[in-house]
């Protein structure tokens, strides 16, 4: 006599307990703290904030601890948390021209106002595993205060002065398409479902929170000829900007905080515009913290998705708006892919029943043929 399987609740509780054990690991080692993650795994924190769409280093670090380093899971935690937050204001646009830059490079000019400031970057490290890091906190730390500004410049340039955007220089010479404020209310993808064809504000919002790996692969594909747009890194700047709001009750703007962001502007291939002039086109990328790979990929994709603006045929995956935007959110993607783990035995049984029926029919057809 078959006895039905029961005990789903108990199994779930036990699974949670096993997960907690795995997350903690060997108790001989000290438990990792949230401040340690926030400070020492800062690039992970940057990614989780950007894709989780919440700027809060401590919360992102907490999410990373809770998900035992599974960053997509951590991003999901932050996103779900975001749903519970009240919305008080929309901030004023960030003034990245007044960024206090820690890092600022341009591939389009050897030297330029503001200089090339390398900042903290993996770029010129040699990818050799450093076994000294295996020692636990016994290695002498680098004294940060004594380090120079990693600046490539003939003069000593003060970083406290605002650094002009490279794109402004190109715009002044009328060499590049200008980004103009269209005075329209931007879309809000967190409130409204997507519609296609999309608009640029909705596209950019989707791309900011889009999965870095997905954007990286698609950006890479444009460089290899799948929708080539001849990119140059016009500028990448990383540093702190102020966030301000303009409450109706006050009638003037007030600063509410400071955040670290990365901004990338690509200079892309030139084209003749409707006014007859030939100009470079451009792409834009933005992210929280130091997220270069992400912002560069995003800028490549932003440009690829501008295909209609330049009468380009959308022949490559990176140019397909619905394809890119429907699949770039890793919270959606991970949810749906992983949902295949859920029981599907009723639907599978439906397919089995049909398959058995088809086979039976073809067998009886064969039998009839034999007679």
């Amino acid at each position: 006599m078959y006895v039905a399987v029961k005990g789903g609740e108990k199994a779930i509780r036990n699974a949670h307990d096993l997960l907690a054990k795995r997350r903690r690991g060997d108790t001989q080692h000290a438990e990792v703290t949230v401040p340690q993650i926030e400070q020492q795994l800062s690039f992970a924190v940057d990614r989780v904030m950007t894709e989780g769409s919440v700027y809060d280093r401590e919360l992102a670090a907490l999410a990373i601890k809770q998900s035992a380093g599974d960053l997509v899971e951590a991003i999901f935690l932050l996103r779900a948390y975001r749903t519970t937050l009240s919305r008080f204001y929309t901030s004023e646009p960030l003034d990245t021209a007044n960024m206090r830059v820690d890092r600022r490079i341009s591939a389009t000019y050897k030297d330029l106002p503001g200089g090339q400031v390398l900042g903290s970057t993996f770029d010129y490290t040699h990818r050799l595993l450093d076994f000294k890091l295996l020692a636990e906190g016994e290695v002498e730390g680098v004294e940060v205060s004594g380090v120079g500004t990693a600046q490539l410049s003939s003069d000593e340039i003060s970083l406290s002065e605002p650094v002009p955007h490279v794109m402004d220089l190109l715009e002044q010479e009328n060499l590049i398409v200008t980004e103009t404020d269209q005075q329209k209310t931007p879309s809000d993808i967190t409130q409204d479902p997507p519609t296609y064809p999309s608009n640029r504000s909705a596209r950019l919002q989707s791309l900011v929170r889009g999965d870095e790996g997905f954007l990286l692969a698609l950006g890479y594909s444009t460089q290899r000829g799948y929708g080539r747009n001849h990119p140059f890194a016009g500028e990448i700047r990383i540093g702190e900007v102020d966030v301000s709001i303009l409450p109706d009750e006050l009638g003037f703007a007030v600063d509410i905080g400071t955040i670290e962001i990365s901004e990338c502007e690509m200079v892309n291939g030139f084209t003749r515009q409707s006014d007859g002039e030939v100009r470079f086109t451009r792409g834009y990328g933005l992210g929280f913290g130091q997220s270069e790979r992400k912002t560069m990929s995003m800028a490549l994709l932003d440009r690829a998705l501008q295909a209609d603006d330049y009468d380009e045929e959308r022949s490559s995956p990176a140019q397909q708006e619905e394809f890119v935007l429907s699949h770039c959110d890793n919270v959606e993607a991970a949810g749906f892919v992983s949902h295949l783990k859920l029981p599907h035995y009723v639907d599978f049984q439906s397919e089995l029943e049909l398959l058995r029926r088809l086979r039976k029919e073809s067998q009886s057809n064969d039998c009839e043929g034999e007679v």
Binding site: G8, T83, Y196, P343, Q349, L358
Partner: protein, 302 residues
């Protein structure tokens, strides 16, 4: 109160009733009212991230969260069973965030959230059946672009669907869709009934209950009001058929319900049991009360 009912309790500290904020509930409620006014049409809505992953029932949960009140009695099933892990998880969520009474008994529930099955026991007026939907558009696997499918629904141009079904017949001698079988609602919109087996499709037609559908990841809500025509697509010479089994349920003897196949050993011996665990339990209980009647009832389930 039966063993299958859990009493109402308190809402978890620090959270709004049913988790969603009131503005989100209003947005979903407005979408639901449009959905019942346009049966079978997928209303876009601003779906939110929920504490469960997309694809795991967030759409159904958002609909339930917008609809449910303190007086409701909630049943949650997955694959027809109350005890499957995800049904357990979702029911626990609503207990935690609403405190409402829950039940496993279909007839005692005012709201039933379901994944992939319609309960065997016919639903009554004032019951609400809320389906979890992964891919809301029945045309999606034929036409991936939403821009195109929106036009097709607008123009009532379902030619591609009929072609697909016809091609199945040409290749297999049957329409080869066994679940998520497309239906025509109120003689206008072709709708995806969610991945219920086609066995369940007839239950949707002119049901006295209100049927609501939520797709969280795809951000669509749709509805079928009570007493609305829901017809499974077919051809005159290839009429719609449901699944049948030669076997009966080894627990209650039913031959009219959807059966799950259970593999018993390495030799491939198999047993069949009712997918709807509450229906099965109900039959066993009534057989215990009147054992003679149950034998003659075999094959006749009401």
């Amino acid at each position: 109160m039966s063993d299958q009912t859990v009493h109402a309790s308190k809402v978890r500290d620090g959270y709004n009733f049913a988790y969603l904020d009131e503005q989100t509930k209003r947005m979903i409620r407005r979408a639901l009212l449009k959905a019942v006014a346009i049966p079978g049409y997928q209303v876009p809505f601003g779906g939110r991230e929920m504490p469960m992953p997309y694809g795991w029932g967030t759409g159904g949960m958002q609909v339930t969260a917008a609809v449910i009140g303190e007086q409701d009695v909630l049943k949650v099933i997955d694959q027809g069973a109350d005890d499957t892990t995800n049904a357990v998880s979702i029911r626990a969520f609503f207990t935690d965030l609403t405190g409402v009474e829950t039940t496993e008994k279909t007839e005692e529930a005012s709201i039933i959230q379901t994944r992939h099955r319609i309960p065997e026991k016919p639903l009554k007026e004032d019951q609400i059946l809320i389906y979890q939907v992964p891919i809301p558009d029945p045309l999606r696997f034929i036409e991936p672009s939403e821009v195109e499918t929106r036009k097709m629904h607008a123009l009532e141009d379902y030619g591609v669907m009929h072609i697909k079904l016809y091609e199945d017949i040409a290749q297999y001698g049957h329409i080869s869709t066994a679940y998520a079988y497309p239906v025509l609602v109120n003689n206008r919109y072709v709708m995806d009934p969610s991945p219920i087996p086609k066995f369940d499709n007839p239950k949707m037609d002119r049901s006295p209950a209100l049927q609501l559908f939520g797709a969280g990841r795809e951000k669509r809500i749709y509805a079928v009001p009570p007493y609305t025509d829901v017809k499974s697509l077919d051809f005159d010479d290839y009429p719609f058929e449901v699944q049948t089994w030669e076997e009966h349920c080894v627990i209650c003897g039913s031959s009219n319900s959807f059966l799950d196949e259970v593999i018993l050993d390495d030799q491939g011996h198999r047993s069949f049991i009712c997918s709807d665990t509450d229906y099965c339990r109900g039959r066993v209980e009534s057989q215990a009360e009147s054992p003679v009647a149950s034998n003659s009832d075999r094959g006749v389930d009401k």
